[in-house]
């Protein structure tokens, strides 16, 4: 009997270890600046929920830089964050509720999977304003936002189109969903703007981050004749694969030139700071309105708002290319033209966007077809 109970204790100890460790990696960290000193007006508390660690050099780092920028620009704001929050309803709702209970008046939830948890918690806290990144649901006090990353991808496509000699560009892509398809199309339009003969070949990896598999996919593309590798992936694996054989690449998320300096022409990157300042200011002035204006999104800022852009160019990018990209950038910023302005044909050669017309936000958000010049399948 003694033996039996000691086994049970051990099993429990092991289980406890599991529980502690899970809590350890999914744990939360709140960074609170000391509250306003006496006499100072009460600060506006803003909370952030992150999917990854703040130093992932990618998606979450970008949001966290936005948070720091917000705190720096608006002295009346006090921020806190919780990192590594799983997307399951139980954890996400618990963390969001906790932030609301702590007195945050504005809460940013920065991953797609937080959509329903955000909507649910928002119902219980009508005085708190919630902003959810990359989803499609809104409520009186919940607004969906995202960034027009496709504009930066179009610009990076110009650099790739100028760099290719084999006229074949490889694109390592995660999942065939509208966000990724839109990026591939915009990139291809950029390539063809400067190099109408060039093609973009897509390989799906079906993972957001697996450095080894992403690298294998890039190698497969390089072997099939591609000499520039673009990516919609979170690891620098594809860029390092291109560098290893002396070819070029276009990174994503953060400045991947740091990880593959000889290969990376540039990387489309996020810069949330200006948007976060803009939105919190609007809330402070009582101008918040969650009515969706861009398809299913309330806010869909782009180049004009400075929330996306290109990381510094590599030394191999010529002055002429840089100038051309700058011109195109100004054309988009001015609003006279956007990436998906017709005539645009699909892979079968059918006109999808007639001459002179712009694709609507809604059509862009639901894109499930490739433009002419892409080799690959959207399935």
């Amino acid at each position: 009997m003694k033996k039996f109970s000691s086994k049970i204790i051990l099993a429990f100890a092991a289980l406890l270890m599991v529980a502690l460790l899970t809590a350890g990696c999914g744990g939360s960290k709140t960074e609170n600046k000391t509250a306003g000193q006496s006499g100072e007006p009460e600060k506006l508390k803003v909370g952030f929920v992150y999917i990854g660690p703040v130093d992932d050099n990618g998606w979450t780092t970008a949001h966290d830089q936005g948070r720091k920028y917000l705190e720096e620009k608006l002295p009346y704001v006090e921020t806190s964050y919780v990192e590594n929050v799983p997307e399951n309803p139980a954890d996400a709702e618990r963390v969001i509720t906790q932030l609301a209970e702590e007195g945050n008046k504005v809460i940013f939830t920065t991953s797609f999977g937080y959509m329903d948890p955000t909507i649910n918690v928002a119902k219980k806290y009508p005085d708190v304003i919630f902003l959810h990144c990359s989803g499609y649901k809104n409520d009186k006090n919940v607004a969906a936002y995202f960034g027009r990353m496709y504009q930066a991808r179009y610009l990076s496509g110009i650099a790739a189109g100028k760099a290719t000699k084999s006229n074949l560009i490889g694109y390592v892509a995660a999942f065939p969903i509208p966000e990724v398809i839109r990026g591939i199309n915009a990139f291809t339009l950029g390539v063809q703007k400067v190099n109408p003969d060039a093609k973009v070949k897509v390989v799906w990896t079906h993972t957001w981050i697996d450095a080894a598999a992403e690298k294998d996919a890039a190698v497969a593309l390089l072997d099939s004749g591609a000499d520039v590798i673009a990516q919609h992936q979170d690891s620098p694996g594809p860029q390092q694969a291109a560098e290893a054989v002396g070819k070029f690449g276009v990174g994503y998320n953060s400045d991947m030139g740091k990880m593959a300096p000889k290969a990376v022409l540039t990387s489309p990157v996020w810069n949330w700071g200006p948007f976060y300042v803009q939105i919190v200011q609007a809330i402070k002035e009582g101008k918040f309105d969650s009515t969706p204006k861009c398809g299913s999104l309330t806010y869909w800022p782009g180049l004009k708002d400075g929330i996306i852009g290109l990381a510094p160019y590599g030394p191999m990018v010529s002055e002429e290319t840089k100038q051309l990209i700058e011109q195109e950038k100004q054309r988009i910023i001015s609003g006279e033209w956007d990436v998906f302005t017709g005539p645009i044909k699909d892979q079968q050669g059918q006109v999808k966007v007639p001459d002179g017309q712009k694709l609507s936000d809604n059509d862009m958000l639901n894109m499930d077809w490739f433009v002419q010049g892409v080799e690959g399948s959207t399935k």
Binding site: A14, V18, W204, A211, A212, K215, A220, S224, A260
Partner: protein
């Protein structure tokens, strides 16, 4: 499909299979001793991150491999202590080890994410051998760790099936009480092979961070540890079967990407499922009585051994 692409797919299958091969060889030894260690993924991750940090700071990948071995072995020692001495449930302890390794490696490697490695392993074409058509470019135009794995497979096969130590190892996995009564120290042997298993898993992880990628990313193994566990059964606890099995399992992803570049679309979900289907089929086969005898799967696998309960 032309000749070059065919060669390229096979060569990629060898590189892609090598991290799985090291981990599977380690798990074969561990399971041959009668201990199931589901912590392969965790041990690989700890090996990958420790190896990477050392290789980065010493600019020598061999030091990285050495430290990866020690780190993987140290993590395995926790499992040995829990399951052999304390007789805890092996499944629970192994699963805890995977979570522990994932968390620990992420914590240790935080400030190293994405950094390029100044001196990774490089390909070395073996003179003579690499000129053999097909076989040369596939097997003998690889990096030193791949060559080392060939030697290891042969050595472990010899050790397991042709030596007295191998007999003791198999005896402990088959029936620890009987082995113990014959004067074989079952506890000692189990400890040794669990730790060696962890060392090999550590090398498998370090192969990813020192050659394959070569860089550190959180969760760099992305499930390869689990494929190694499945591979052990697929290989029927035989190092030689593990060799070609790992190339088959590792090559599936690479094949999928190549097929996409040739505009052939095979569902990636189907491809990802294949290793496990193979494993299930082998599992069904090895439960047949006559097959059990022929393969010699360790009968005491997963059972704690207690001298007093004999």
């Amino acid at each position: 499909m032309n000749h070059d692409i065919f060669i390229a797919i096979l060569a990629t299958a060898v590189t892609a299979g090598t991290p799985i091969l090291y981990a599977a060889l380690g798990e074969i030894l561990t399971e041959r001793a009668g201990i199931l260690n589901l912590g392969v993924e965790g041990m690989m991750l700890v090996g990958a991150v420790c190896g990477f940090i050392i290789a980065l700071n010493t600019a020598n990948p061999w030091y990285g491999i050495l430290i990866a071995m020690l780190a993987g072995g140290a993590v395995a020692l926790i499992h040995a202590l829990l399951t052999i001495t304390l007789k805890a449930n092996q499944v629970v302890s192994g699963l805890a080890l995977t979570m522990f390794g994932t968390g620990l490696s992420g914590y240790i490697g935080k400030s190293y994410v994405g950094m390029p490695l100044p001196a990774p392993f490089h390909k070395i074409a073996l003179p003579g051998l690499s000129n053999i058509p097909v076989i040369g470019p596939v097997f003998f135009n690889q990096d030193p760790m791949v060559y080392l794995s060939y030697i290891l497979v042969a050595a472990l096969w010899f050790l397991t099936f042709k030596t007295r130590s191998g007999l003791h190892l198999r005896a402990v996995g088959e029936n620890p009480a009987a082995a113990d009564s014959m004067g074989v120290n079952a506890f000692q042997i189990r400890y040794i092979y669990v730790v060696i298993g962890g060392m090999l898993a550590g090398i498998g992880g370090a192969y990813l961070s020192l050659y394959y990628v070569p860089s550190w990313m959180e969760n760099i193994t992305a499930g390869r540890g689990w494929i190694a566990v499945a591979l052990v059964i697929f290989a029927t606890w035989n190092p030689v079967n593990a060799l070609w099995g790992s190339y088959l399992f590792g090559g599936i992803d690479a094949l999928g990407f190549r097929l996409q570049t040739l505009n052939v679309n095979v569902s990636p979900y189907f491809l990802k499922m294949l290793p496990y289907i193979f494993t299930v089929v082998v599992l069904v086969l090895v439960t047949k009585r006559n097959m059990v005898k022929r393969i010699g799967s360790p009968q005491a696998l997963g059972l704690p051994y207690d001298r007093e309960e004999r």
